[in-house]
């Protein structure tokens, strides 16, 4: 029961983060939202493992945390080197 509630809340948070990723005026808003989405995905996988009583899911959560981190850093490196013309907001 308690994990079901938690999963619903995490899903709502992920939805809001996705909406910000769609709206976000600058590209950094989008990356920030995607990073937050990834963090919440780690939590989601962990809580889902508890909900279905399969704690093996925690390994996947750990791996996902690493992949998310490396992915965000890689995208940032790319954006930093080749900033898109719309990177800076129009104030």
């Amino acid at each position: 029961m308690m994990f079901a509630v938690t999963i619903m809340a995490i899903l709502v948070i992920m939805g809001i983060a996705l909406a910000r990723a769609f709206l976000g005026p600058t590209i950094y808003d989008r990356i920030l939202a995607v990073n937050m989405f990834g963090t919440k995905t780690v939590l989601f996988i962990a809580v889902y493992g508890f909900l279905t009583e399969r704690p093996d899911f925690l390994d996947i959560a750990l791996v996902y945390a690493l992949i998310n981190f490396i992915g965000v850093i890689a995208v940032l490196k790319f954006v930093e080197r080749y900033p898109p013309p719309t990177a800076t907001s129009k104030d």
Binding site: I16, M36, T39, L43, A46, T88, S89
Partner: protein, 114 residues
């Protein structure tokens, strides 16, 4: 004993969900990128901690809880690095933050230093 642990983990999970939702609201409510970053930072620190604490209370002390502690440690170690990389990339490519009026004059806003 069961009831106490269940209650404690309910409290922890609910606090975690509340913090996460507050951070998500903050991501929407704040006006520009640099302030949104702080709202996201709330969900990256205490929200993760409380949800993991609730799950640790449920699992008891075994390998599962050790893995949960690893998840929290990993997120707390990589989160600041990702935030710093993000804010540095934004700053260096010329996204200027809107600065508020400080020096305790007033809380008037809207004057940007750019």
């Amino acid at each position: 004993m069961e009831i106490i642990i269940d209650g404690l983990s309910w409290i922890c999970l609910l606090i975690g969900c509340g913090l996460g939702l507050s951070g998500a609201i903050g991501i929407f409510r704040f006006k520009e990128f640099y302030t949104r970053m702080h709202a996201a930072s709330v969900t990256d620190t205490l929200c993760v901690f409380f949800i993991a604490a609730g799950m640790i209370l449920q699992s008891g002390f075994n390998l599962v809880s050790v893995k949960l502690i690893f998840v929290v440690a990993l997120l707390w170690l990589t989160g600041p690095v990702a935030s710093h990389a993000l804010v540095r990339a934004a700053y260096q490519t010329g996204l200027k933050p809107k600065l508020g009026i400080t020096r305790k004059q007033s809380s008037l806003r809207g004057k940007s230093s750019t």
